[in-house]
Every structure is written in structure tokens, then in C-alpha cells.
Symmetry: C2
Subunit: 136 residues, 2 copies
Amino acid sequence: MTFKINSKFLKSSYFITELSLCIIRLHDNSKFPWLILIPKRKNKNDISELNSKDQLLLIKEIVFVSNCMKKLFKTSKLNVEKIGNIVPQLHIHIISRSKKDETWPLSVWVTKGKSYSKRSAVKLIEKIRNSIKKKR
Amino acid sequence: MTFKINSKFLKSSYFITELSLCIIRLHDNSKFPWLILIPKRKNKNDISELNSKDQLLLIKEIVFVSNCMKKLFKTSKLNVEKIGNIVPQLHIHIISRSKKDETWPLSVWVTKGKSYSKRSAVKLIEKIRNSIKKKR
């Protein structure tokens, strides 16, 4: 069996691009700039299940995406989270936070999400893709 | 100025041990087995601010502590989170989750914490220290 993305991600996020290890997707919640990194490895539910080489790739890609987001969303405040209680397939949330966002300083998990309009989503995806392309 | 732990951690967690990069502390919330890794580097608020060598050490220590916790608390479900909205000093939460815990499958952040009794804390700290010693 080859690697497959859990279908829940396909419904709740948009494809941005892929790096050596991870697929990057935009989480469909307009309340926070929120990317998801999904390692292209099958049957992995935890960071500790990746082999050592992939663990190193993961931290490098987390830092790479973090730096893109800090610049793009003009913030130094990032939440980086591996949860996976609902969708077990290994994925990392990287969320730009701001003192003006709805739940600050609380977690993003204390509120319900709000989808992007199609137009805003397309615009934002383009912006993120360009930022990642420039940094590579 | 040398590295100092934010005083809020001293009040809300117990010292367990230290690894090459991180100090490990038990978060004082008896609802979830919950460790905190604090890199011994001054003025760091985000993973991306660590140098490359420390980034690699961090992921190795996250995996090391994750493996200890999976064995100790008999779970494969871990939440690994860098938040830092309230205490900006870089720290990583590693939380053992179980389908029987209070907020499953929601985040641990949707409920208030409950301190350990002194006796339970001492016992648990000893147990975690031994587990880490064995794995090293």
C-alpha cells in the first residue's frame, strides 16, 4: 500500500505544495493563518515512529515553514502542534498567532473554525505558495 | 546573562532531570501525564530561533521523552505542542493521552488543570526519573 492522505484532510484543508518529507496544506479556518505538514510516510501516527533521518527532515521542514509564516503573517508567535486525537495520521499544525486573534492568549482549540470564502482561499494559497517558492 | 527558567514554570511544574539540551519538568496537572521540555538557551521563544544543532537535539530529545512516556503510561497517543502564548520562553509540552481522559478527543486546553497531591507528585516524579535513567 502506498502513502495516502486521510480523506478528512482533503475536506478540511487545501493543498499548497510539498517538500522532501511533508505535504503542506492550508487548514480551512479563516480565524487563524494555519498550515498543516503531513509527512509522506504510511502508517505513522507519532513523531517517534519516524526513522531518525525523517525526524531530522521533519524539524528542518517545521523550521522552514515557520520562517515563511513569520515573514508572511508578520508575527513571531507560532503554535506548533502534533495532536492527532481525531485524525491519527501524523501531521503537524503550524499556526500564526496574534494578540488580536479571537482566542489569544488561549489555544486555537477553544473556538470553532470558520471556513474561508473561495476567493480568499485562492488568494491566500497563492500568497503562501509564492512565499515558499522564494525561500527554497 | 545566563539561562534562567521563567518563574511561572517553577510554580506550575516539578523538576525531573535534564538532558543535553532540555530541562524536563512534570507539569502539575493530575488530569494528564504531562512533561515539559525547556531548552537551556537564553532568549529563545520559537523552535526556529534555535541554531541547527540545537534543532536536531530538540527533535531527538522529543523522541526520547516520547518513547519513555509511551512505555511508562502505556499509550501510543501523545500530544506534542509548542505554544508559548502565556509564557513565551521556548518550551515543548508532551502529553500522554488516553481515550478515558477527561477531554478526549479534544485538546487538553479545553479544561482547567488539577494539581497533584504532594504524595502523588513525589511518587510520579520518582517513576519518571527511573524510566528516563533506564532509557539513557
